[in-house]
Symmetry: C2
Subunit: 354 residues, 2 copies
DNA sequence: AGAGTGACCTGACACGTTTCAGGGCGAGGA
DNA sequence: TCCTCGCCCTGAAACGTGTCAGGTCACTCT
């Protein structure tokens, strides 16, 4: 392994001091053209690469921002990550992506690591409902933006989508389609902010339509995954009077539930209507195209990154902002038989065809 | 922003030298119990956090490994990433995830960044077919593992899946189902290794069955995405004698193609059979459950990370390995009407029901 | 009692960079 | 001729760690 070449060797080869090389790198305008070119030639000849560690050590903080999400496998979060990465790259920052799987321990572990890396800021969808680790970061002077969690913290920006309205839209739609017996497939309401808010919105729709609050059934799942959705589907299939409509707290759950319905031969939407949440790209391509509550995924990530970059730049003068986007219901075949009829009809022909 | 506390302040508070604090951190066994506890108390009292930059600067290399993939939005790669992250975390390494979108420029840019960070190794699915950036890394002494690209490089390990066999299995299956007019939906064969190999396998299956090599039609797409698949679908729908079977080079393409067929009312698999590649989780949940060539996604990532960690540990003694997994065809309804009949039948009833 | 032996700790240096006070030097003005 | 002023450059001092040669001290052995 060839020893890494340092600024000093470049300086020697170019016949200048290390200070000058550094200037060529960081403030090219202050050095004479001839010298600059000599230095640049030496750099490329030796294959010199800046040592970011040393820069950070000197400057006290890294040019990296940490992005901590609940589940990288969830297309919702990869889209958020894309948005954030775009904005970060434009501003010359690297993004370190961390996955917590909703585990408080993993979250703490990753944040510890990010603190050691001296990232200058962190974008996080909190797994710990107490937000304790977020506060620890703030105390250490790390800028934080809460993703998808609009806690009105005095000391951090946030970017979120109005989950309560999202839940409301979904259930309002199901009620409008004539459903009475609605079940929500949801994560733990106490642990996860999104679960709590979407549920609250759903309940609001129920009571607004004259139903009792507890008329909304609930199936709690341990994770927001397709597998958990499959399990929830089995559970729902076992219920004696089967609910006629399901509102799933995200699309992975909805896809799992849908799959178990299809396997069991339960017709969607005729026997059971399903609405998901997030409107990931796969929702439209599902066995029955999935109705879903759409969130501006990439925009969420981009906005968060931009906020945090601004915060670091503005320093003390920065005022924390709380950006809230509004979700939008996308109705497809899984909750509206009128939309499924055309395709369904052809499928009928197709089965007869063989 | 509170000044970050350094090892020196901890030393002062605990009444020891900085060397001792460092020892407590790195070789706790060499320091007396009483002293160690005093130091640890000081650490937690001051909220001291190691400065990773300084450590790296001293040790010359970071405890991070770079993971460079073609598309983070592709569930195949997120699964690979998960596997890699698991193994890396177990060994105490962080993972920096980079996305190239198949762009040579983005790839170069990310690798530059990783070099500056002095990552101790890089796992990469190359976007540049010349592998030039990979060789640059090697010259700088960075360990590299090629993902999904078994180039028999003398100076790097690789982990891949036998793409040629995968392509062969897919088309062999379609031929066995009685198809003659088969089209492959594929990326650029010259640019992407996977595209080239899967195509070669497909051709081998054709010729093996007594067809001419050019009997396999090809639709080239600009990217391995659902959107590109949709566009390819439109293109195929416009063909005068419509092909009876499609082999898509990955599942995102297949899902897109499938969606455009469903929209156009073309029956799958009766009128057009479809086989995808990767067997991502969403394949099974698609409008018509998708036949696909399965790869051990997480295992690929885990193996790659383990290889590179071993390489760094073993130093000079390391011998480069080329691990090749074997893919497996998973047949579902999209290419086999017998498997679709049950569900299809119930759907028939459902359409009649309303 | 003196020497030898561990156990434990100290203190300075090095890692590669950025920053900054200051120095050399040529040109222009008095 | 001398002074001043810019321009361009130098060189040393940090940044926070890990390492390592050496130092101190109590204890044991002869």
């Amino acid at each position: 392994m060839p020893a890494a070449v340092s600024i000093r060797e470049v300086a020697t080869l170019a016949g200048v001091s290390v200070g000058t090389v550094s200037n060529v790198l960081n403030r090219p305008d202050v050095v004479a053209t001839a010298t600059r070119e000599r230095v640049l030639a030496a750099i490329s000849q030796l294959g010199f690469v800046r040592n970011e560690s040393a820069r950070q050590l000197r400057s006290g903080t890294a040019r990296a921002i940490g992005l901590v999400v609940l589940d990288v496998s969830n297309p919702f979060f990869t889209d958020v990550a894309r948005g954030a990465e775009e904005a970060a790259t434009e501003a010359g920052h690297a993004v370190i992506l961390c996955n917590t799987d909703e585990s408080i321990q993993k979250e703490a572990r990753h944040l510890e690591l990010l603190a050691e890396q001296r990232v200058h800021s962190v974008l996080i969808t909190p797994a710990d409902p107490t937000l304790a680790p977020v506060h620890r970061l703030r105390e250490r002077g790390v800028s934080v933006v809460l993703l998808d969690h609009p806690a009105q913290l005095a000391d951090a920006c946030s970017v979120s989508v109005d989950d309560r309205t999202g839940g409301f839209l979904a259930v309002e739609h199901l009620l409008a389609m004539g459903h009475q017996d609605i079940v929500m497939v949801n994560g733990n309401v106490n642990r996860l902010y999104q679960a709590r808010e979407r549920h609250a919105g759903a309940v609001k729709a129920m009571t607004g339509a004259g139903h009792r609050a507890d008329a909304l059934g609930v199936v709690e799942v341990p994770a927001f995954t397709v597998a958990a959705g499959l399990a929830a589907g089995e559970q729902i299939l076992a219920r004696k009077p089967r609910p006629t409509a399901l509102f799933c707290a995200n699309d992975l759950l909805a896809l799992g539930v849908l799959q178990s319905m299809v396997r069991a031969g339960v017709r969607v939407p005729e026997e059971v209507a399903i609405v998901g949440y997030d409107d990931i790209d796969f929702a439209a391509a599902a066995a029955v195209p999935l109705s879903s509550v759409r969130q501006p995924r990439q925009l969420i990530g981009r906005t968060a990154a931009e906020l945090v970059i601004a915060e670091v730049r503005e320093h003390e003068a920065h005022e924390h902002q709380h950006v809230v986007f509004t979700p939008e219901l996308v109705v497809r075949a899984s909750s509206d038989f009128r939309r499924s009829s055309k395709v369904r009809h052809r499928m009928t022909k197709s089965s007869q065809g063989r």
